[in-house]
Structures are given as C-alpha cells and as structure tokens.
Symmetry: C2
Subunit: 409 residues, 2 copies
C-alpha cells in the first residue's frame, strides 16, 4: 500500500523518488495521482515527506483532483527556461535541476520510475548527472518499491477490482446468451442474414458490452477458436467462424475507463458438444485449478503453486514448461500474476528463476492453468481472480460457473 | 518515413538502435512492427540492415504479422538464462548482451527508443555498460530519428488518418443531432425522463459512437461547458448540464482501435443562441484560423504561423502567451501539432524555444487557435487537421462546417 512507500524507500536507501512520463498508461503515475487526468506531470517525493505533483499550467483543475500538494511547471519558470535555452534538451535539464534542488536537495539517492520515453529519459539523466553530481539516480529493475507497495491492496482498491469483476462476469454471461441466440447451420453459428457468425462479430459485441459498463479494453479481448485457442496469446482471427465442438478460449481483461483497475478472467467453451479428448483435457485443467487453490496458504511462496500445477499435469501425462522449457504443447506458461492498475503485476505465480513472491495478505492475483495442443487444434484455459484478505482468508472474486459446453437451443 | 531511418541514423552517428517496451501504447514499436499485437518485444536494427523483431515464444503468430525478420526470445535461451541466473535483473542483462552481440556487435553507438519502464531501463543500461564497454547507449531527447521519420507520412498512413477523420466528422455530426433531439426546459436540455441532460450522458453516447466505428478513445474526449470550456485541458465535468447560450468546447481525438492512427478535431458550439461577446470571440478565432491557413507554405517554418496567430489576436486586443507567458486568459497555447501514431507529434506549431520544425511535405498536423476567458465563463477553440502532399499542396482532412450556434428545434 502507499503507506509502505517510506519504509520501502528506507530499505533501499532511497532519499527521494521522481516519477516521470504521461499520466495515461503510466500505472505508477495513476497510483500516486489518484487517476487525475493529466497529460504532463512529474511527481517528486522525499522520504518522509508528502509527494508533490508538478503539472502543466493548463491542467491545474485536473491536478487539484489528485489530492496531492501541487506545483505548476511555471512555478519553476518552465516556459521562461524554454525561451531562454531554446534547445529543449538543455531546457529540460535546467528545469529538472531546479525542481530537484527545490524539492530534494543537491545530494542523495533518487529512484527514477514511470513509463516514459526511454531515450529522452536517458538523455535527461546523463545531463543531470553533470549538473547535480551529488545526486545518484537509481533504477530498480525488479521488485521495485512500487511493485511491492502496489502488490497489497487497500479496501477501496479491492472493492474497485471486485466491481470490475462483477461487470466482467456479466459480460461473459451476456456473451454466452448472444452466442446461444444464433441458429446453427452445417455445424456453424449463422446470423439472421444467413452469413456465418465470425469472431469479429462477437468481439464487436463484447467491446460494446465493455463500454456500456463504463469499462475499457486497452489490451484487446482474446476470443480464439480451435487451433488459435491452442496458442495462448493469439487474440483470435476476425474472420474465423464459430464451429460447433471447437474450443473457444475467451479471455477478457477490461479495466475501469480512463486507466483504472483491471480484472482478468478466462473461460473455455465448446458450442453444442465437446470431443472426448477436449472434455478430458478440460477436466484436467479444472482439476488442477481446484487442487492449487485448495492448497493455497496466506504468505505461501507463489512458485510452489506453479510447481504443484506442473506436478498435477505431468502426473496426467502432459508436457509442461518445467519438463521442457521450450514446449509449445501442454502447460506452457505460469500459473498466474498479480493484478491491479497493471494487468500483469506482483505476485508472480511463476517458478522461473528465483521468484520469491508470496501470496501476501492484500494480494489480488489470477490463477489460470491451461493446456494447449495447437497441433491437435485446441486449447483450454480457465482463469479466476483471488484475493487474500488481512486475516489470510482467500476470496474468489470471479463469480461465474465453469461449464465447458454451451448447449445450443 | 521509415525509409529515412538509415539516413537519419547516419546523420546522428548511430550504428544501430534498440526499441524497448511493450507493443501497446508504444508508438515507435507499433510503427516498426506494423501494429502486430505483441505484449513482449524488442526491435533491433543495424544501420543498413533490416530490423529484427524478437518476440515472446507464445506470440510467434502475432509477430509474423509484423512483416519483419523475427526471432524468438528463446532463440537466445531467454528462459534458460532466467533459470540459471535466478535474479531477473542479471538475467535481463545477459539476455540483452547476447542479443546485442548477435545482432549489432561489441562496439558502436546504439540509440535507445521506446515507451517503457524508465527505472528498469536505467538499471539495464547501467549493467550493460559494464558487460559491453564498447557499446555507447545514446538517448535522443528531442527531434529523434523517429520524431523526424514519423513526421512524414506515406500514402497509406495519410489514407488511414483521412479515414479516421471522416469517421470523426460523422461522430460530431451525430452528436449535434443527438443534442438537437432534446427538449429545452428552463434554458436547459432535458431527457425524456425529465432530468437534465448532462455532460456525462453526452460522453457516454460519444464513446459508443467511437466504438461502433472501430475506433477507440484512449485519451478521453473533451466536452467542456462554460467556465470549463475556458480551461483548455479541462475534460468537462460529468454532472454539468447543457445550458443554452453557454460555450461547449468539443475536442475529439479518437484513434484506430488497437493503437493505430489518431485524428483530432475541435468545434465550439452554443446551443440555441450565442451572446454577442462569445460570437465576437468566435469570429476572431475563426478569422485567425483562416488567416494562418491561407498564409501556410510548404516547408514553411512552423513557428512563424504561431507568431502570425499571436499578431492576429493581439491586434484584436486579446492577451497571448507571447505577450504574457503565464496568462490564463486569451490565447494561451500553441497553434498546433503533428499527428499520427501519437496524438502530439512533430511538427510543433509553437514559437517557444528554438523550434525549427517546418511544414514539410508529408506532414499531417493540427491547426487549433483558441481564446479562453474562464473568468467570464467561456472559451472557444476550433481545430482542423491539415496535410501537405508531396507537391506542396495543403489538404484539409476535416470535413465539417464551422458554425457556432446549434439551432434547437
């Protein structure tokens, strides 16, 4: 949580931090500014002091909504500096130097964060080092203070995710109704005008349902049929038709409009009927999911659940990423990931490398085992979102059944 | 254009470049990968050689759509390295060093580009300098090779922008129809259920119209009434009501769904009638627009048109950002900006600093004079998109009239 930031800064020896970049699609900026709709912003915080938001002069009203202490770029004479320096690179250095001296000082370790133009940032930091030799700019590659702080959600964040989850389950239910509302001809779903229903048609309907609920779909929903369902990150081909018996992997990860909290859920469906091998594979995925969730303990090491999923699948004869790290068949990915303002966040339920993440109290994360056999034309994945509360209780935030077959009328 | 990249690299002494970050909301990655829907990617290019796309193993199908030469991260044993190193930071350094040695070599100037996590990038480059002392990583702060290459559009890019422009004009027309379809009571627009129509209601309708046309609204449309219309970047308050005679600044900048090309247009409307001072201000903005567009020459220095706009407004008694750089009243911003995969790109029609941008052949840019009087409760902006073709002809891509008053039925 945000209240952990000072402690985390102290642990890493950071005297201050700067967050760079636009406000939009910059989760750390959103986190600190509480979603204020800014185009230009810097956030600067000294350890033990409140964060300061510096905004463009035209955005004072939006900046005020952040609840932070605010300054305008013109408080640091930004336009005057631009006019005097002419060259934008030189002007940015003088401006940032002025901000740092004012809000941080002339020496100390300063963490640099945010999603921004990496070339411009590299140029800026290179130049700032010359002007402010007492400042050490620190980049955190992994398990940064924000990765850790954002991993544990407060009650308000959990409620926002839960609400997006409820709306997402509604969308999946409505999608199923939409599919079932179609006639079947020659083993395919057909529209009223007689032409086969396509993945493109279904995605358009899904996008409208997302929008109608005040959500957005920044990463594009996955609705992948048959062989595409067997390739985990394939989004589905627009022109593909909806054929009875083929697997459909439907993975939907909307967020609150304007860049807020994500949800993420997956269901696999077969229209009308499922082949025995698909049914058997589905049962293995569902069994794996139930087994790992039943085993989960608060503060449990996340990687052990990935190991458990591999144990489960290998015992049933499926190749896994553990048995062959380059396999494209079987269980080919990690068990899950944290979720919040980022779609993929901590904790990571992966056993690659030395992943020390734990299912800490306050964590919200996905559990998404899957089995993929593109060479046999199908794939299966099921995904729910879980939350560990402060008492160590696990809550499944995904209120939707797990039936494989959609009975057609 | 892309074909300029080798020349631009040579001009800047770059032997190669690397583009980092996710594919989504990373315009340079989108540009190079032709919009392939990747989550993980690196693009590496040596000067004079074709670009190479390195993708995650699960995304080989999407990567193939880029048309680039592709490699998988596992071709560099990415997961093996992760497993051996354990620590993700160390693994990333080894992986990138392997990629650079293979595709670039052990010495040279390597430009670094992309929208990415600046902390992780800072850490990565710090470590890579130790491992590959012959490589100089170069950040470009301004007028980078991509700023310049992307400034000039090829025929396909112009067609895509033009098409988004046509759809955008349709949306504005439909919005006006929607507003006119409402009854007026006590000087306000009211819905059929008797409650006043709000900005939130209108924005919901606009978002639906954007979506129905295969577009998205990543930056959130501006629909700002009255005093809010007088603050250029205010997006409008959801609960504001639509009151006859107040100015509405309606600034809409959708892009192709999935992160493609933007359009950007603004109209200012008054419902029913306009006060004389609003009408006079509107006429000044419209007059300014016509004057600067008429003056534009191919390859003209962009800043001179901002100067011309300031001349025009100052002659009519309006404060400008040139006469007082901190003014919040009058003409408070630049004349326009390039547009493409970024909403704000080159050329910049600004006179701040030493802006040497020119209206080069192939450029697509906005012209958007405005006058703001928040203290008097109104603001006016009009914005069109122009394109300079290879023969130096200017084309206005904004096919929509410029009438201030929307007559209510």
């Amino acid at each position: 949580m945000k209240t952990d930031l000072d402690r985390l800064m102290a642990e890493r020896g950071l005297d201050a931090f700067i967050v760079l970049g636009r406000a939009h699609n910059n989760p750390i900026m959103y986190y600190l500014t509480n979603g204020a709709k800014l185009t230009v912003a810097e956030v600067v915080k000294r350890r033990g002091q409140p964060a300061v938001l510096i905004h463009g002069d035209m955005e004072r009203d939006e900046a005020a909504k952040s609840g932070l202490i605010t300054r305008s770029r013109n408080d640091y004479d930004f336009i005057g500096i631009l006019q005097q320096e002419g060259d934008r690179r030189k002007a940015m250095v003088r401006y940032f130097a002025k901000v740092i001296v004012d809000l941080i000082g002339v020496r100390g370790n300063v963490g640099v964060y945010g999603t921004a133009d990496v070339g411009a940032t590299l140029a800026l930091l290179t130049d700032l080092r010359q002007v402010l030799p007492g400042i050490e700019f620190v980049g955190e590659a992994d398990a940064s203070i924000f990765d850790i702080a954002m991993m544990t959600k407060d009650a308000n964040e959990v409620e926002r995710i839960r609400r997006v989850g409820q709306l997402t389950a509604e969308i999946v239910a409505e999608t199923v109704d939409f599919l079932r509302g179609h006639a079947v001809r020659d083993g395919k779903l057909v529209r009223r005008d007689g032409r086969p229903l396509t993945v493109g048609d279904v995605k358009r309907v899904i996008r409208r349902m997302i929008l109608e609920r005040g959500l957005e779909d920044p990463e594009e929903v996955i609705f992948a049929v048959g062989r595409d369902a067997g390739v985990p990150h394939s989004h589905g081909e627009e022109q593909d038709e909806l054929v009875l018996g083929k697997t459909i992997v439907y993975d939907i990860f909307p967020r609150e409009a304007g860049g807020g909290y994500f949800f993420d859920m997956t269901r696999t469906f077969c229209l009308g009927f499922a082949e025995p091998e698909v049914k058997a594979t589905y049962d293995d995925v569902r069994g794996c999911m139930e087994t790992v969730i039943a085993a989960m303990q608060p503060d449990g090491l996340a990687r052990q659940y990935q190991e458990l999923a591999c144990d489960y699948f290998e015992a049933r004869g499926h190749p896994t990423i553990r048995s062959d790290r380059t396999t494209l068949s079987g269980y080919v990915h990690s068990l899950g990931h944290g979720i919040g303002l980022q779609l993929h966040a901590r904790p990571s339920l992966s056993s690659i490398g030395t992943n020390e993440d734990r299912l800490v109290r306050g964590a919200v994360f996905t559990v998404e085992p899957g089995l993929y056999y593109p060479e046999r034309g199908f794939g299966v994945r099921i995904e729910d979102v879980l939350y560990v509360d402060e008492n160590g209780q696990f809550h499944n935030l995904t209120n939707y059944p797990k039936d494989l077959v959609i009975e057609m009328k």
